[in-house]
Symmetry: C3
Subunit: 205 residues, 3 copies
């Protein structure tokens, strides 16, 4: 229940920051809405399509689309406010990352998927929305170049599933893993942690 | 039946204009064929994958692939003609948009999807082919920057489903909504109507 | 059985060359891993999603992910070696192309798909991994601009399915078609064969 509310807050926050990204590229309002929906709901959609898990969340609950669209359109009015609340949005984005990850793990877990796939399902849910946003905006996904997004998602999933494996109660494992992932993300932003890059300059097409 | 013939005309027209887009990017003939298939059949494919509606239209009717490929390859011979008939192609493209939309609404409607999803299904069918074409050609989808494509698709879907809801006979609602959407599109081209853009210059990654 | 071993060799080789492509774009190690997985396993994934064939290969066999990730990460240590063995990798890549094609044909064939779809399924399996890699790296797919990849995949599929149709034993048809496709690919590299391009300079958006 608390997870569901956190999920709704997260998709609204993701939709609002995605709308600003689209606005910087001077998209029209339709583009803004598509980018917002894809960013907020794309991770879960990719996961469900890959796992053959139908109906999709937003097909079963079209109100998710309504929340996302309302959030995207309200950014036109609230853009200065959103900018002033940048810190709050970074926090909400971190909440979104761990919430999406835990939900993704749950979906695969309920389908009795193997452990590795449960983790991958969490990572896909946490990260694919942003990846699709970047592809549709015509840029190499940010995800591949900076931010520890994927590592944080993996850590959260490992702690969540591992915690249950070693006998922690479900809710406790969930809360602890989410706090750990959230803290990791905040520290990564604060101290500008990055994954090392693989830089290769040889001749290979 | 008339809808089916209009559909076939539309996929052939879409395939031919997509082939010209690919030709401007100096793709090889295989690339031209892929771009043509993706543009003509991609909208319905995305819709069916998202709704879990299998088999896909072109899997069940491989002749659709044959029509699309023939159309794409014939553009090599007919390019000057296609260019001279540019107006006709714009009309056929407008027909395609409303036909794809109505078909998309029908598919979701037959799966007893909620009203909002029926409209989204129509919009996906009408617009995703062009979106995929632009992503594969490595550019930000045109759809997000100009043309009222998506709004026209939404209007057509609303009139079609709304008309049936207020008791219009199915065929009448279909024809009226298609005429309205077609007229809207032609007027949008004629008077260069665009969606307002959301231009945001603040500092947000 | 031999086909399965060839498949494993092929995904490892594809993952390693994809990691070098990602390294040239200075991606971080997470990006390298995603690009490697998408390139090695993406073709089969697209095929299975389009055909509604669940569970996906890597969902059922998560060890495929492990092989791909190990291969991608080992490239950091082995990059100079990989470069020195460039010829070997080109050979393995050619093996991958024909193996993926034959496997793709088999999957569609077992689902009793029509002949054209069996061929398309082989081509998707053989070529979509590289196409997705290029889209995620933000470039127009190579596939559309050079290399006879798709034609070789189609030829292999035609010989494989056609051979069985005219009464060849399954294994014989498979081996002959794979040898033919492999030879075709090697000759195409050696003599720099390309598909003709469709170059169109007229005014068409």
């Amino acid at each position: 229940m608390a997870l569901h509310i956190a999920y709704l807050v997260a998709i609204v926050a993701e939709a609002m920051s995605a709308a600003l990204v689209a606005g910087r590229r001077e998209m029209d309002w339709f583009g803004v809405c598509v980018i917002a929906c894809v960013t907020a709901l794309g991770g879960g959609t990719v996961r469900d399509v890959l796992l053959g898990h139908h109906p999709l969340a937003w097909v079963q609950h079209p109100e998710y689309l309504a929340y996302t669209l309302t959030a995207a359109l309200s950014v036109g009015l609230l853009a200065p406010l959103v900018l002033r609340l940048r810190r709050l949005f970074l926090l909400l984005d971190a909440v979104g990352l761990v919430v999406f990850t835990v939900i993704g793990c749950n979906v695969a877990s309920e389908l009795s998927m193997p452990f590795a796939i449960v983790l991958v399902s969490g990572m896909i849910t946490g990260t694919c929305g942003g990846m699709l946003r970047d592809v549709l905006c015509g840029q190499t996904p940010l995800l591949f170049r900076k931010e520890l997004y994927a590592s944080i998602s993996l850590t959260t999933g490992l702690l969540y599933m591992g915690g249950q494996d070693i006998g922690l109660q479900h809710d406790l494992a969930m809360i602890l893993s989410m706090i750990a992932g959230f803290t990791f993300r905040i520290l990564a932003i604060r101290y500008d942690w990055n994954m090392p890059r693989f830089v290769y300059r040889g001749d290979w097409s």
